[in-house]
Each structure stands twice: as structure tokens, then as C-alpha cells.
Symmetry: C2
DNA sequence: GGATGTGAATGCATTCACAGCA
DNA sequence: TGCTGTGAATGCATTCACATCC
């Protein structure tokens, strides 16, 4: 393989990269040093060929006869995903979910630096939650520009989500983690990841209903 | 189309079904009565053929020359997804995230009946959060069995997730919404949906890095 | 032997394109 | 005319299978 044309890396591959990373970090904690594509795949319910193909998109860093050096693979995947460097993040919308995210301690470990939170409720502005300041919406744009923030977590009510997203884009945000159950209209240069609880619950009820059917023998002819 | 063979419905189709439902309910609020596959598709960034193909897996309920009756389509999709009936749910793990979910009011609207929450911290047991009782873990199995609960939201720390999942399965749970960043080992008859914040943030940083590169005309290192 | 990396083959999902109906 | 439903064609992702290397 010579060099990488990022635009033709399959989406599913990028998703699995995150899974590999999580599993590899678990292996590291268990003091393992190398892992084969077969072992890594089995621990995640994937085939060995799938693992090798995924990794091969990004270069060749396995050792034939041995497997992959875990430490090396972890740092390679982090570099690919862009999590080897720190990212500044803002959170907009300090409701139940916003507060929970502010109190969640796991961001620092992932090199995510939560710069500040924003809300338009005067009662919330000025508070400190989980060590993060809550500021008024009028400071959103200036903060993003001053600190070169590129990521935002959007936890506002659904009817204001699009308007806030517009402000975020105008201010220079490049990626939005959208917790509102709505499709945001943004330029193609802006990445959006949706976290939709209702949607995932519906996937569950569908699968459970399906399982119940096939179990009951309502099979196809 | 004669009969539905559920096991061969593409996963992506089921995901989009939820998107269709969300968009259709928005149209309903706007007092629209019918919608064509073209209109529905465009509102979600999909092609008309995609929409028709997806719906055709489940029968034929469009009206040539007219489109789909929105009310009818909504109730059909709900039936397909299994959300036309009410579901009992338990929540296990009353940390920051668990509390936020308990305080979130949106479940009732989706026919999700949150029966109770569970935690092993004596200080939390006995509290009422968002109108939901917190009980000790020792009552989990009995509650699930007594109320025929089939769905669980798992918001416990990562190191206890598998053990709790085992209890859930043993008690008769059929679907788990897993908020812990770990792969649960469960029988194939149990549905699992993962909500992994770190994973989604990594997808974002990857896409943002990619966009930055292609914009700058740089190749991957 | 044991493992990787990768063309070739397979299997799915999406898109095309058109017959048929209101 | 406008739109659905659906086989056929296309395009992607996964899996196979094997040359290659430690």
C-alpha cells in the first residue's frame, strides 16, 4: 500500500476503529503486549479478515507470525482518529442531560478539554457544574473564536437546535455531537454525530419483537 | 409482496424507519396529510428509491399518483417498530447519567414506562428521582419478573456492566440499552444497543481531521 | 508453524429504470 | 401526469484464500 485516500475509507471501518481502540486499551491494562487479528476480532465478534482489512487501509503495521504490537497499534489508531491531540469542546444547553455531561469525568482521559458551557437561562448563568462555568449564550461565539474551539455538544431543546447549530457553524465549529432528536442542516464541511435515545430504543423494541416472533415459530414458509 | 421474512430486513432499513417516523410526526404537526417518497427522502437527505424500497419490505401501503397517507404511515411504522404498544423499562445505575435519564420527561410520550431504578448505594436507595423510585439491586430480579419488564437501560460503571447484564438476562430482560463503554457478552436472543459517547466523539474528531486535510489538500501521513 | 496483507470472489445494499395504476 | 412497487444493474463491504514473511 502506498498512500491513503481518506475519502474512500468505509464508514463502518472508522466505527470499528474505535472499538479496536477500546479493546486494545483493555488488553494493555491486562499487560498483554501483542495481539493477532484473530484474537482481536473474536473479542469483538468480528472475523480476522475484517480486522486485517480495516487496519490495512491505513498502512501496514502488523508483524507476520507475531501479530500486532498493542502499544504501537493503540498510538497508530489514536493518530488516525485524531485523538492523539487535545480538542477544545463547548457544551450548549444546561438541562438534565447537559448537567450530567458536565459532571461526567471521562472527558479529560480522552483528551477532550471542555472549555465552558452555555445557556440562556439567567438562573443557570454564573453557576459552576462539575468544575465548568456556565456562561450566557451571548458569549458563545467569542469563546469559540478566542479558544479556537472546534467541537460542540448540543443539548438544547429540539425547537432551538437548528438556530444554535447555525451560530456554532458561523463561529467556526467543525463538529457537532447532536443530542436533539432532529436532523441538523449544516454545510457538508461540518461533521455531525447524532445521539438519539428514542431512535435507539425503537431499534431495541424492533429487535425484541422480531426475536419474540421467530422464537414463537412464526417463521417464513 | 406476500409475507415478511423479518430476518432478511437490512439493518440500515430499520434505522431509517425511525428517521422516517420522526420526520412524519413533524409533518403531522404541520397539518400535512400526504407525502411522496421524494419529499420524505429529500427532508432526510435520502433518495426516493431508497424510501420506497425500505417501506416495500413491510408491505404495500402507498397510493400511486398520490403518495403515502401520513397518519396511516405513522401508525404502520410504529407497529413495525413495536412502539404501538407500551413497554416496561428498568434503569440500573443511578449515577450522573442515570439521574439525567430519570429526570428526562420524554419517555412517556414514546410509550416507555419506566418502572423503577436500581442502585447498590444505600444512600441512593429509597430516593425518588423524576418521580421514579430507586430500589436496591437485590430487588432487581423480582421486579423484572413481577412486572414482566423486557427492556433495561444500563448506566453502571464499566467494571460492573457485564455482571449486571448477566442478572438482567437471567431475570428475563430481552433488550439492553448499554451506556457503558464495553462489549456485553449476551445470548444471541438478547438485543443490545450501545450508546458510546467516546466512540461518537472519536468519529467526530476523525471526520473533522479528514475535512481539514482535504481542505488543505494534504495526504494522510 | 503462525501470522500478515491483499487480489479475487461473494454477498448485500443502493440506485436505476420502467410497468402499472390513480 | 404523478407516483408507487419492483426486477435488474450497479456499487460497496465482507469474506475467502493464498503468496509472503518472521
Amino acid at each position: 500500500m502506498d498512500f491513503i485516500r481518506p475519502e474512500l475509507i468505509p464508514d463502518p471501518t472508522v466505527r470499528r476503529l474505535s472499538l479496536y481502540l477500546r479493546q486494545l486499551e483493555l488488553f494493555l491494562k491486562q499487560d498483554r503486549e501483542t495481539v493477532s487479528s484473530k484474537q482481536l476480532g473474536e473479542s469483538l465478534g468480528l472475523t480476522d479478515a475484517q480486522v486485517r482489512k480495516d487496519l490495512a487501509y491505513f498502512g501496514t503495521f502488523g508483524h507476520p507470525g507475531v501479530g500486532y504490537n498493542i502499544t504501537e497499534l493503540v498510538s497508530r489508531i489514536k493518530r488516525i482518529l485524531g485523538t492523539d491531540k487535545a480538542w477544545n469542546v463547548v457544551l450548549v444547553g444546561v438541562g438534565n442531560l447537559g448537567r450530567a455531561l458536565l459532571s461526567y469525568g471521562g472527558f479529560a482521559a480522552k483528551e477532550m478539554h471542555l472549555v465552558a458551557a452555555f445557556d440562556n437561562d439567567p438562573n443557570k448563568v454564573g453557576q459552576s457544574i462539575g468544575g465548568h462555568d456556565v456562561r450566557g449564550m451571548e458569549h458563545l461565539e467569542a469563546t469559540i473564536k478566542a479558544q479556537e474551539v472546534r467541537l460542540a455538544m448540543l443539548t438544547v431543546p429540539v425547537d432551538t437546535a437548528q438556530a444554535v447549530a447555525d451560530v456554532l457553524v458561523k463561529s467556526g465549529i467543525r463538529g457537532i455531537l447532536n443530542f436533539s432528536p432532529t436532523s441538523l442542516a449544516v454545510p457538508t464541511t461540518i461533521a455531525v454525530q447524532a445521539v438519539d435515545l428514542a431512535l435507539q430504543l425503537e431499534q431495541l423494541t424492533f429487535q425484541v419483537s422480531l426475536n419474540a416472533m421467530t422464537r414463537a415459530g412464526v417463521r417464513h414458509p
